[in-house]
């Protein structure tokens, strides 16, 4: 398939791997930010092919994984109400709240629907004027443009039965939180190319300089990942701490300005709870005052719901690069994709799910 095959070429991969082997002279810890990257690494077994000194740790970039338990419980409460059509990306349906998930809400009679685009949710609101239609607006900067677009469109259409449960998170504050942690091990980043497609990478030089970490904007195919990693390792070996772009076929420094302006019109930075990590200041987006009528949290009065997370699950430490899924006593035993204790085991982008799916047997050897 064009535009994909060339980035999965085995010969190119061999060349890059051999360069990586030649470049590395000591131990380095590099974090890939996005869960999509984690999955590609595990799916192609890239980590097996790397020199042992180049350790990849898995970042927090899985929107399903970092959505707080509290917000999921709020979603479950709203979705259970009789007059509501609750719409969501498919991944969210299996994420466990403290007692159930959206699948079980649906089985008990809740009207929960999977949509592929938030604009489909707006269409459902148009078609069902007697119902309240709620969209679970989760994700990083990548999904923000379509999510705010749905709000803008609902406003333009004068819809009064559409609202969004917002759980948006942003990458740069998470990088800051990881790097400023006293336990931090991360020495370089593969930035999440899809996020940068929207946001560009003008926010990153400040981080790179402040913490002396190289950051390379990286794509999602094996060749993209190996190239990004090579560039990070070369910088680390040369004591260089710059922001570079290994995904220039889709990412520019400025990013998509129209999308950024649209996001700023609807959203403003807010403090946000990250599942397993805790609250990070100004790390999320919430609806601006001018769009507050679209806020499902106030419309359905669920602000009182407060929940705590499983004490066994170490997802928070995994998402900060402190631990690997193998380090968890529940991994593959109490906690499996069929019975997930934490969100990292749920999403197709979650680090624990990736390990379970692609490399479970390695832990047994």
């Amino acid at each position: 398939m064009r535009y994909v095959d060339e980035f999965r070429d085995a010969e190119l991969a061999k060349g890059l791997l051999s360069q990586i082997h030649k470049t590395v002279t000591r131990n380095w810890v590099v974090m890939e930010i996005c869960g999509g990257q984690t999955h590609a690494i595990m799916r192609y077994g890239l980590d097996e092919l790397l020199p042992p000194q180049a350790e990849l740790v898995h970042g927090p970039g899985c929107p399903v994984c970092v959505t707080s338990l509290e917000l999921i419980d709020k979603a479950l409460e709203i979705a259970s109400r009789p007059n509501v059509i609750f719409t969501s990306f498919g991944d969210m349906l299996r994420v466990p709240g403290s007692k159930k998930d959206l699948f079980s809400v649906r089985a008990s009679g809740g009207d929960v629907r999977v949509v592929y685009s938030p604009l489909d949710a707006v269409k459902i609101a148009q078609d069902n004027p007697e119902k309240e239609v709620v969209f679970f607006a989760i994700g990083f900067e990548t999904t923000a443009p379509p999510n705010v677009m749905s709000v803008l469109q609902a406003k333009a259409l004068g819809l009064t039965n559409y609202s969004v449960l917002v759980s948006h998170v942003r990458v740069p504050p998470a990088m800051n939180a990881i790097l400023s942690s006293p336990h931090n091990r991360v020495q370089g980043f593969l930035a999440a190319g899809h996020v940068n497609t929207v946001m560009g990478y003008w926010e990153y030089p400040e981080i790179a300089q402040k913490y002396k970490v190289p950051i390379v904007v990286t794509g999602f195919e094996p060749i993209d990942l190996l190239r990004g990693l090579l560039m990070v390792l070369q910088q680390l070996e040369n004591k260089q701490y710059d922001v570079q772009n290994a995904y220039s076929r889709v990412v520019s420094y400025e990013g998509n300005k129209a999308a950024q302006e649209m996001i700023n019109r609807v959203f403003e930075p807010v403090d946000r709870q990250w599942r397993g990590i805790g609250s990070i200041p100004q790390s999320g987006w919430g609806l601006r005052e001018t769009f507050k009528e679209f806020n499902a949290e106030t419309r359905f009065e669920v602000a009182h719901i407060q929940t705590r997370e499983s004490e066994i699950c170490i997802a928070g430490q995994i998402l900060r690069g402190l631990k690997k899924p193998y380090d968890c006593p529940a991994f593959g035993t109490q906690c499996t994709p069929r019975n997930p204790l934490g969100a990292t085991m749920v999403s197709s982008e979650g680090a624990c799910a990736a390990y379970y799916q692609y490399a479970r047997y390695r832990g047994e050897e």
């Binding site: 994909v4 799916r43 077994g45 498919g90 299996r94 479970r360 047997y361």
Partner: protein, 360 residues
């Protein structure tokens, strides 16, 4: 007896003639009375006509051909079918219901003989749609060379079924000495697949129109018994046959690895996947190895018969793109591994639950 002259002349209310409901299914079609009989007479009988059915009994009495000389076993399988939409590119629920059960019966190496079909119809189903579905059942049964010898129809209220559900049961004859099953795979055996994977799942998903993508991919739904017959002539010691339906290739091979207590190692580069299916999967975040097929055969055969098996598949109507995709190993036991294009190995697990499109 003629009392007409004594009756008062009715000029006021008259009993309305009941509507005929020829264009859609109504509750009365499941009453067991006149309307049910009409439904059977007009829709089912003309298409499924055969002596056991025409006898009109509660049962179908059939003779096994040359019973006295037959040795071996019966292969029996039953399968309930529901699909949305009812009609999709490459097939419909009727074709699916016949092929699904014929294929299951044949995975034992059996010669398929008879099918029964039970219909649950939703009130309001278009009679034309039903006719088309029944017609395609007939066509598929003819192609497979099986008779539909008994059936049943029920009607449920609107909203209590999705148009029509069809359950089919099939019976076939397994010749004496044939020993094919999920537990028979041996280390060293080759794993063959009869063609492109994932066509059915992607065709049906696209036909639902919910994901905003269109594709020219058609469902692969097909009866596989003729290909199996050819295969077993070419590779008589075939150990395992299975059709990778729900859960796809990955899930099916995991079942076999467990049943046979073996490992299976696949070569990613050898697995046939249509570029359009690959592209759709890339977009949706699916892995084609987990997407459903309805007309594909996985065969596990001894190494010395693999070449003949492959050629026999490639010669048959539904096996043109057949390929040897891997082999059975003694370790790691009960696991399926994929040797990736990158040269690494990864686990190919069973699907956890419903396949969900990814977020971004």
């Amino acid at each position: 007896m003629n009392n007409e002259n004594h009756l008062p002349t009715l000029e006021g209310p008259v009993c309305p003639v009941p509507l005929q409901h020829a264009d859609q299914v109504v509750m009365g079609h499941g009453s067991g009375g006149k309307m049910t009989m009409e439904l059977i007479r007009d829709i089912f009988m003309p298409r499924f006509k055969c002596d056991p059915l025409a006898a009109g009994n509660d049962f179908a009495a059939v003779g096994l051909p040359n019973l006295a000389t037959l040795k071996g076993q019966l292969s029996i399988s039953t399968d309930a079918h529901s699909v949305a939409p009812l009609i999709f590119p490459g097939g419909d629920i009727g074709k699916l219901a016949v092929c699904g059960t014929v294929n299951d019966v044949c995975m034992s190496g059996a010669l398929p003989l008879y099918l029964t079909a039970s219909f649950i119809l939703e009130e309001g189903l278009s009679m034309t749609v039903l006719e088309n579905i029944v017609q395609s059942m007939r066509a598929a049964a003819e192609e497979a060379g099986v008779q539909i010898i008994a059936g049943d129809t029920k009607v449920v209220e609107r909203g209590k079924a999705d148009g029509v559900f069809i359950t089919t049961t099939g019976i076939g004859w397994i010749p004496d000495g044939r020993r094919i099953g999920g537990a028979e795979a041996q280390p060293g055996d080759k794993v063959l697949v009869s063609g492109y994977l994932g066509d059915h799942g992607i065709a049906v998903l696209a036909a639902r129109g919910e994901l905003g993508f269109e594709t020219a991919v058609q469902s692969d739904v097909a009866p596989l018994n003729h290909m199996i017959h050819t295969l077993l002539t070419a590779a008589p010691h075939t150990h395992v046959m299975r059709d990778p339906t729900r859960g796809g290739l990955a899930t099916t091979l995991n079942e076999i690895a467990h049943q046979s207590q073996v490992g299976i190692v696949l070569q990613e580069t050898s697995i046939p996947i249509r570029p359009a299916v690959q592209a759709a999967c890339e977009m949706l975040g699916f892995d084609p190895l987990y997407v459903a097929n309805e007309g594909k055969l996985i065969a596990i055969v001894p190494p010395d018969e693999a070449k003949d098996a492959l050629e026999s598949m490639q010669r048959s109507k539904y096996g043109e793109k057949a390929a040897i995709i891997g082999e059975v190993t003694s370790t790691p036991i009960k696991r399926v591994l994929l040797h990736t294009t990158m040269g690494s190995n990864r686990i190919l697990d069973v699907m956890a639950g419903e396949m969900l499109p990814r977020i971004c």
